[in-house]
């Protein structure tokens, strides 16, 4: 199946018109030239393809998830997939020609608006690759804006995000430090943090600004923003995060959806594409990519970031999710996730585990199992089709609940755990 529609007759006519005998004559300048066919299996017909891929997918096991740690199992309304499968959204290109792309550009503008409202910030872009690289971009942006080379990272940042930050920083010659001083470009804090803790970050924000650094808040579970104070209200200069909770499937880690939002003074520094509202020559409202002069295709080596392709379709999916859920639905999701997590926590405390969160938490929390039992607990849960949490080591488990965790599964979780420790 190569989807090539050209008939042999057409091919011959085209070669004649060009004035060559075969396509080989056109490829002569390409060296070295392969003589044999590539050693690839196939081709496969559609029937065989489905068979083969189906077999592969069935080697995977989808469980009941009581785990978050950066990817969250929320319900996705059916209409999201139907809408993003529309050919106009799916098969369109980057909206460099706005008259051909008003659909994408309006959806981007709406996405940018949702992010600004939820984070309490002034300006957002049309997406970055994922939350971790968005954080890295925020660090680079801060360094460039402040002319400083040190990054202060608050404890409680997702360890994968920390690794990505370190990789990008090394490339750019920045250092990650636990000292806040006049060389600090930005202070980074995740909220709720990796262990689920919801922090009051006003003090840290003040400290950052006193040192002349930017304050960056990283939101990895953004459904929390339905109920929590938006970071823009407690001093964030930049908010980054992961939009996967907003209508994107778990997808074994990607494609996900990075977002970045800033206060107005950083508008010119924000990386990636931005959709702006404007009018056409008849005075009708329309949208265009704007501030393109920041981007790589214009600034080239002076661009702050090299990002080109982003996660546009994922941003559209998230926008549709947020529209379908609306204020009421999103509050429901947050309440349901919160309630189920706290219900489970209390049940586990009731059978002898210790709750370790010192601050209030949203939908993720850490439990300490009796000495030497956590591995057996997790493996017994696994046997029963439950992924019971992220193993933090030393009998600590990072557990997450969302609206997708049924009460009867929560009950099973508790029963199995109780049996294991006895």
């Amino acid at each position: 199946m190569d989807f090539i529609p050209t008939t042999d007759a057409d091919k011959q006519e085209m070669l004649n018109r060009i004035g060559v005998k075969s396509v080989d004559d056109l490829i002569q300048t390409l060296k070295p030239y392969l003589q044999d066919k590539l050693d690839l299996p196939g081709p496969l017909s559609e029937i065989e393809l489905v068979d083969h891929l189906n077999n592969l997918s069935q080697k995977n096991k989808v469980l009941k998830y009581f785990i978050g740690a950066g990817s969250y199992n929320h319900y996705i309304p059916a209409a999201v997939a139907h809408l993003i499968l529309r050919g106009e959204f799916l098969t369109g290109y980057t909206p460099y020609q706005p008259e051909m792309s008003q659909g994408t550009l309006q959806a981007m503008y709406e996405f940018q608006s949702f992010i600004c409202i939820l984070t309490g910030m002034d300006v957002s872009n049309g997406s970055l690759y994922d939350g971790s690289s968005a954080l890295a971009e925020a660090a680079l942006l801060s360094s460039s804006y402040k002319g400083r080379n040190s990054i202060f990272v608050s404890k409680g940042l997702n360890p994968e995000y920390f690794r990505v930050l370190k990789t990008y920083s090394q490339g750019a010659g920045l250092t990650i430090s636990n000292e806040l001083n006049e060389d600090t470009a930005c202070v980074i804090a995740q909220n709720p943090d990796f262990y689920g803790n919801i922090e009051n970050l006003r003090y840290l924000s003040g400290q950052a600004h006193k040192a002349g650094a930017l304050f960056v808040v990283c939101v990895v579970e953004p459904t929390s923003l339905a109920i929590l104070e938006p970071p823009g209200n407690y001093g964030a200069d930049i908010v980054v995060g992961e939009g996967q909770s907003f209508g994107l499937p778990l997808n074994f880690g990607g494609p996900y959806l990075g977002f970045i939002a800033v206060k107005n003074f950083l508008l010119k520094k924000i990386p990636g594409r931005i959709s702006g509202m404007t009018t056409d020559s008849n005075g009708n409202r329309g949208f265009v990519l704007t501030f393109q002069a920041r981007e790589q295709h214009i600034r080239r080596e002076k661009a702050g970031s090299n990002i080109t392709t982003n996660e546009a379709l994922m941003a559209i999916a998230s926008t549709i999710y947020l529209s379908l859920m609306g204020k009421t639905g999103l509050l429901n999701v947050a309440e349901s996730s919160y309630a189920r997590a706290h219900f489970l926590r209390d049940k586990l405390t009731g059978i002898g585990l210790t709750s370790l969160n010192k601050t209030p938490f949203y939908n993720e929390f850490v439990m300490q199992a009796p000495f030497g039992t956590s591995k057996r607990i997790l493996s017994n849960l696994l046997v029963n089709g439950i992924l019971g949490g992220y193993d933090l080591g030393e009998d600590k488990m990072l557990i997450c609940c969302t609206e997708m965790n049924r009460i009867k599964d929560i009950a099973s979780f508790v029963t199995i755990t109780k049996e294991t420790i006895n």
């Binding site: 300048t29 390409l30 995977n60 990008y168 501030f291 790589q296 392709t309 992924l387």
Partner: protein, 490 residues
């Protein structure tokens, strides 16, 4: 078209907060009722959530209507140079949505993701076969991210060899903007290399520029002029003798599938854009996947985790070796990898037909148009070509592109590469018919005639889209980048 925020409706989306319908046991009702977020300290809570409530029928109508303002490959010809706008196979959308692929948590236990890991491992093997490279990372979400990864690995490699004086990257003047931007992100300096009269990299200037401070040469082959680098073997030979590495921007791989292998041309690193050559949908600008292939001597620098196969079991290998770290949370754009894998499986060893037909289509279209426009270089092209409309004056490429919309076509890439004035970069891809190419060429010829007879008319286009020419200057001078909720007067 209204904004989604301009609706105010009843929203019946219901997520059970506490009780589940099927849970008849316990009196969890009473127990769960105490768990509400109003129990959180007040200073942590937001005071208002100014999001709209919209009913599902309206949401579906809204997004269906705005989607219809878009053009897509499903609608018509999309001759964007270096974008490879080929047909996106629908079966891949179904396959990517199989439960076992789509609903798998990335932090699952190893025994739960054998199918996905097998897919990733096999994909890597196929990409090695296609390109001749020895190892691939599937982690990067885009070509630009893969380039960044390649640049970081290059830096680490030379640091390892104590050659930190290598601070420069050579890039042709026809290069895509990501190449110099990537160099900057890694604190490399760029040396720009001109092209010669045949559109190849100027080999004499290249030889002179190759000093011991050059770490990397970043080339696209075929280059952005749509031409195969005739001296590629000499270029890589010179680079290697100078201890410099060679990077291939594989955006134009649609010209080389089954015909040539970048590794055999002397490239040490390369990326492929799965959303270009390998048919995964563009989605309005993403997602994509920028897989990075390297020769064996660089494999240890690849990001973690790698995917390895031991006795029929697939594992994520986190052994540090000389890895530069990791570029993202968890593995890569898996959904995109599935689609590309499926595409490669469906093509099999007939993959060469793709490039042969892409090259045929491009040369045919070039032949149809070469007397109506300037062709900067008198050579047959690869899978794309560049025309110049400068005989029609300043801004003619812009005006042609807007007028093409009235003829039902998406414009080609304009004003790129930078070295050709009034450039129109056209890539037809192999999934277009001869009939489409003829119609497109006709449209351009008509517009050329219009430019001769009534240029002011052409300047006012497009006339038949939902919208006339948009004020981009106003959008930048008076930015309106988001909707804001009305401020309550209290």
């Amino acid at each position: 078209m209204k904004l989604i925020f301009e609706y105010d409706e009843s929203n019946s989306m219901h997520i059970p907060t506490i009780q589940d319908l099927d849970d008849n046991e316990n009196n969890s009702d009473e127990q769960m009722e105490k768990y509400t977020t109003s129990g959180l300290p007040n200073e942590l809570l937001r005071k208002e959530l100014p999001l709209p409530n919209v009913s599902e029928p309206t949401v579906v109508r809204h997004y269906t209507n705005i989607s219809q303002l878009n053009y897509g490959i499903d609608i018509g010809f999309y001759p964007l140079g270096s974008c490879t706008m080929k047909y996106n196979p629908r079966i891949n959308e179904d396959i990517a949505r199989f439960d076992g692929f789509q609903n798998l948590h990335p932090l699952s236990h190893e025994e739960c993701y054998q199918g996905s890991l097998q897919l990733m491992w096999e994909l890597e093997q196929h990409l090695k076969t296609i390109t001749g490279m020895d190892a691939f990372s599937l982690q990067a979400a885009a070509g630009a991210q893969a380039e960044l990864l390649g640049a970081m690995m290059t830096k680490a490699y030379f640091r390892q060899k104590s050659q930190t004086q290598r601070t420069k990257i050579i890039i042709p003047d026809s290069a895509h903007g990501t190449n110099p931007a990537t160099a900057s992100m890694c604190r490399f300096k760029t040396i720009t290399m001109p092209s010669d009269s045949r559109g190849n990299l100027d080999i004499d200037k290249f030889r002179q520029a190759l000093q011991d401070d050059v770490a990397l040469v970043m080339l696209t082959n075929p280059n952005t002029l749509g031409l195969f680098e005739e001296n590629i073997l000499e270029i890589s030979d010179l680079a290697h003798k100078n201890g410099t590495l060679m990077y291939c921007d594989g955006a134009n791989m649609n010209a080389m599938l089954g015909i040539a292998k970048p590794a055999e041309q002397g490239f040490d690193l390369m990326h492929l854009n799965l959303h270009k050559t390998f048919s995964t949908p563009h989605g309005g600008g993403g997602p994509g996947a920028g897989v990075l292939g390297v020769r064996a001597f660089l494999a240890d620098y690849l990001p973690l985790p790698r995917v390895t196969k031991n006795d029929g079991r697939y594992v994520f290998d986190y052994a540090q070796r000389k890895s530069i770290g990791t570029m993202r949370f968890c593995y890569g754009n898996f959904g995109t990898l599935v689609r590309a894998y499926s595409y490669i499986k469906s093509l099999g060893n007939s993959i060469r037909n793709v490039s042969q037909n892409a090259i045929l289509n491009a040369n045919y279209l070039l032949t149809l148009l070469k007397h109506d426009f300037e062709v900067p270089f008198d050579r047959s092209c690869a899978h794309e070509f560049v025309l110049s409309s400068k005989r029609f004056g300043d801004k003619s490429a812009l005006n042609i592109s807007k007028r093409l919309m009235d003829y039902g076509f998406h414009p080609p890439t304009i004003y790129f590469p930078l070295i050709v004035r009034e450039a129109l970069m056209i890539e037809p891809t192999e999934t277009e018919t001869k009939e489409t190419l003829v119609r497109f060429a006709s449209a351009l010829k008509c517009i050329a005639q219009e430019l001769r007879e009534k240029p002011d008319f052409v300047k006012g286009s497009p006339y038949t889209r939902h919208i006339r020419k948009l004020d981009e200057v106003g959008a930048a001078r008076k930015p309106n980048l988001r909707w804001a909720p009305p401020i309550h007067p209290d």
